[in-house]
Amino acid sequence: MAAAPPPASRRISTVIEPRPPARSSSSSYIVGSTPHYSTTRRHSLYGTEDRIIIDPGSKYWKVGFSGEGKPRQVYQVVQGDGEHALWSWHASRTPEEYEEADRMLSSRLQDTLRAVFFESLMTDPKSRKVIIVEHPLLPLRVKDLMARILFDNLNIPSLSFISCHMLALLAAGRTSGLVVDCGHLETTVLPISSSRPMYPLLRTTPRAGAHLTTHLRSLILEYGTYHPPFASLAGSANTAPRPSRVPLEILTDAFIEDIKTSCCFVGQPLDVSETGFLSTPAGGRDDRMDVDVETPVSHGQSLHASPPSGQRSGSHSGAHTPNRPPQTTQDFLSAQYERQSATFDFMIPVTPPPPLTGTGRGNIRIPGWVRERAAEYLFLGGDVDEPSVAEVILQAVLKVPVDLRKRMISNILVIGGTPMLPGFIPRLHQELVRTLTKPMPTPSVRSPKRRAYDPFDAVRPLAAHVAILNNPSPPPSTSVSSQNAGKAPAFAPSNMAWVGGSLAGVLKTGGEEILHDKWDEAHVTEPETPTHEVVTKETSMVLPDWTRVPMVVGAPHAGKHAPRQFGLTIREPVTA
């Protein structure tokens, strides 16, 4: 206590804080010579010219005005501990459950949207056009509800939905590229060519933020230790309580989120080859290792394309394969990770949850390798249902027409909250290259005759062209096209889509605008209908969406089939 000098006694001239090296880059903060209010002056102060850009996520919302470089507010919409996200993929079982879930969603959306206007932005919704940055797989129900609340409750003059992938690409100054959105619920890969999103080629994997949180929680449960506080203040230091396993009650969502967002990072790839460790444990998951390596397709290439520089230990695959088979893959992995990790452990103070007591706060020790390797989950080879992030990107590339593949793979843009993990993007690049250049799997004893199957055989030659546009630390370029790497503007990945929305607002471009009049026209029937209704009745206006075929103006709306709905097994419309 006494050691800390009172702040006022500081000599400003003498105190020079040691600047961490990374800070030097922020000197650009002052470089610009733009006069005051360069951006604001061009726009009206009150008018509707500045649109409101809302980037609604299931967990975080970003809101602000167009023409500004960053959102006014980024905040977590769901504060309570019970719920993880505003919406999720969970389906309701019964119609009653569905209706209730729908009411909840609607109520929360309404509260959130009202808060956007009245608390975050403090503006009059009646005079502001709104752009919603829309995820391509945003449940249509959410979209409908948002439109209804914005028009009916908030009376906005016009609304447009624009694809977040498209906007992010705009913010990167491109119109073609492969946009990878690694968010909370899903990782979505969407190729865009000439600003045309190729929605049918969309690939997704659930390996994203939410699953990472779950994974991190189980890692901490398994490998973390809990150091309880002293039971009483009387005891001496020798009677310190023994560390124990981490109680589950401590690991609330907020706590895990805190750990995930502040002390986790993504380490360099480990040199244990996948085949090395996964085929050692007997039985179990080795089915995908049965492939063998008779075809030397692109073998030479894979040799020449050495793993990117900066790998921690230079030895190649197989060198670390242990002699003794460990109990489980998991144990083996953790042992491997622990051995290779130079990351320091973390002690995080926590307040003991109710059943436990003690004086003050206890600590949770998080092993360094957990911090470093938790995100490994996103990169480890997956299966059909859950491809890894790198695999899902390559799958998307595979689906793209041959002519575009090279262009796509050398214009990858990574956006979303999960890539804010330090080291994520460089690691993703390495994983992409590694997947494309890894030597064919070692021959399996069981089926030596079978031809090796590599799902990414066709794109292997593109390994040299892999480039992530917003890679903060790109490897030295190996080809002309991979020079793109790192050449995107330095917007943070999580805000890329919002910035694109801001840009689109300034440029007055964007998706189809839905005007309030049109909305009202479509809704003249039953003006007194309460907001909560059975779904099929109320959607008299069809919002534009890529899942709905664009129709000629005036074409009759086939109201027969129920729209794609969130969380509901499609039911027949309730007709009286």
């Binding site: 800390a4 702040p7 006022a8 400003i12 961490p20 990374a22 880059s25 922020s26 903060y29 470089v31 006069p35 005051h36 951006t39 102060l45 009150y46 500004e68 470089g69 960053k70 507010q73 980024v74 009653e96 009411r103 909840m104 109520s107 509260d111 009202r114 403090m122 100054g173 000439s194 989120e257 805190d258 502040s262 002390c263 990072f265 990351t343 320091f344 973390f346 002690m347 360094g368 804010m420 330090p422 080291g423 630390s473 790109p474 790497a485 050449k487 503007p489 330095a490 943070a492 805000n495 801001s502 840009l503 471009t509 998706g511 189809e512 309460p530 907001t531 909560h532 209704e533 059975v534």
Partner: protein, 633 residues
Amino acid sequence: MPPTIRYHCNCTSLASGVPPPPHLPSSAYAFHPLHSLYFCEECDAVRCNRCATVEISGYYCPNCLFEVPSASVRAEKNRCARNCFLCPVCTNTLSVVPSDPPEPADGARTPVTISAVGEPPFFLYCNHCRWDSVDAGITFEKPTGLALQLQKTEDSAPEILELEKLKDYFEPALRQAQAQQQLHASSTAHLNPIQAAASSALSRDIPALKYSSGRRPGLGSSSSRRGVPPAMPSPGVGHQDIDDPATEYKPRVWMSAGGGIGHDAEVEWLANLGSQGGEGSSQPVVATSNSGEIATLSQRLHATQFSWAPTHSLRTVDLKPTRVPLRSKKSKRCPKCTHILIKPELKAQSTKWKIKLVAGNYLPGIEVFLPTVGQNPALKKTGKEKEAASAEEAAAANMMLPGRSYPFHLIFSNPLYDPITVRLSVQRSLPAASATPIVPDTPATPMVSQSHATAKRPPYAISLPTTSFLVNPFAEAWEYEDDEDEEMFDEDDIGINLGISRTPGRSGTGRDGGTKTKAKTVGVLERRANVTKIGGEVVVSKEGKGAVKFNMLVSYTYRSDDAAPEEAKTDASTPASKLSSTKKELLAGATENTKTFNFYTVVDLGAIAPKEIIAKVEKQERRDSVQTVGVYN
């Protein structure tokens, strides 16, 4: 948790106009405490904060109470542009302190807050967490107009400049594309401009596509380039193609500027942070919350440096102070008739309202309490209450036990200057037990009954008085007769139990719940001034669990003549002016016109104790009693 009552606003009704059943979580969004509701006189309806139309009528800084003109709010980004800053670490407000005089000061902690005299480098200091802006590299020459001094860095922030550059890059191509699109408005009408721009680029590459819009097919692309029709924007020199690699966008600051050194260093720093060594060695503790070298996500989000990768850093040291966000005074209107419901005075210091139509002036206020809960005889231990009861016991003491019945009180207070007649009925989401009175005019609730048919029946039954009862008009304290004094005096010591034991039930069913109160009362218990106390009863079934909540329809009838609404309006709009109200009471009784108003409420009586807790407590009790017996013997 004490029992609560919330009022329903019609904006969130089910299809049939009834509120959602009380046990659904969405019920929380449909009911509001009375003090947060408004009342529209034109529509004769309750309005809530979720449906009222909100208008911002003024902005002010909550710290310096400066009223910001709305013209500058936009440019100042909704934040105080004077001297108010928030601590990036703990979001406390910061104060400006000068640095010390040259002579080395001793440890006397006397930070001189805002004073014009002081050494020139001023900095911001947090009184709560001792953060100071020197760490963030921010010092000031003058102690005033700090925001203005920082404005420069804000305006020339790299992300804004980058956005401007992006805009300049895309704009020409877009305009051109739009012009072209207008020229031959065709089937591409639904395309947005950026797609149109791209498609024009596409069609330049593929001649066949170029004329697909029906103009002069058969000519080569080269000829068209030379012989352009005059009105046509030339696709040749000067044409901005969005997809042309020649005009590729060059960002001001690109992601990998500096060769990724910054990023790698960040990872390295993070990896080396923390402690290494065995369990026994002294470990430096690194906290992620509030103190520590790593800024939490919320701190980083708050400091809004999130948007620009080079300035985005995990380190607490790099957090910048933020200007205090402005607050706003809002006036609200009825969504249907756009009449003003509430309108504040504009002065930031003022807490008064120009117009205030709050529901509390129109609807009877209802209070609920359960007199006997908290004294569950089964859980009561002789002389042992003062000893530390376990957490379960404490919890169970405030919960209802299964298989018992409890009386509860509803206290109605009438805000109107007319007497009102109130009639209660429980919404039919409850089992039609014989004890549950259903008023015939309860609206049919197909939605609820349907959903209820599948749901489990609530494990309790509610009894309420079936007859209507009177609540006397509101009057000022000095208007009451003297003989009422003693009754009013009673109010203080009625306490929890007293009311029920003193006034034996007039219309009570008199069922014995097994508790010590002999007289169970359902009916009017007490009437004094403008308050009437009503007794009800809840019977909890044996296997009950969860919360006891029920929807209650309150309909009240009051006399109204033509002048009545206006009177009420003046009353309500000036609730503080209660001086002129004496004669209104006389007026009110004059006419025979009656009006009835219905509203729903949800009454939450508290939770039923779960079985585990009861079992635990009972076990404990048995042990205790055994011990006691042992001691006494």
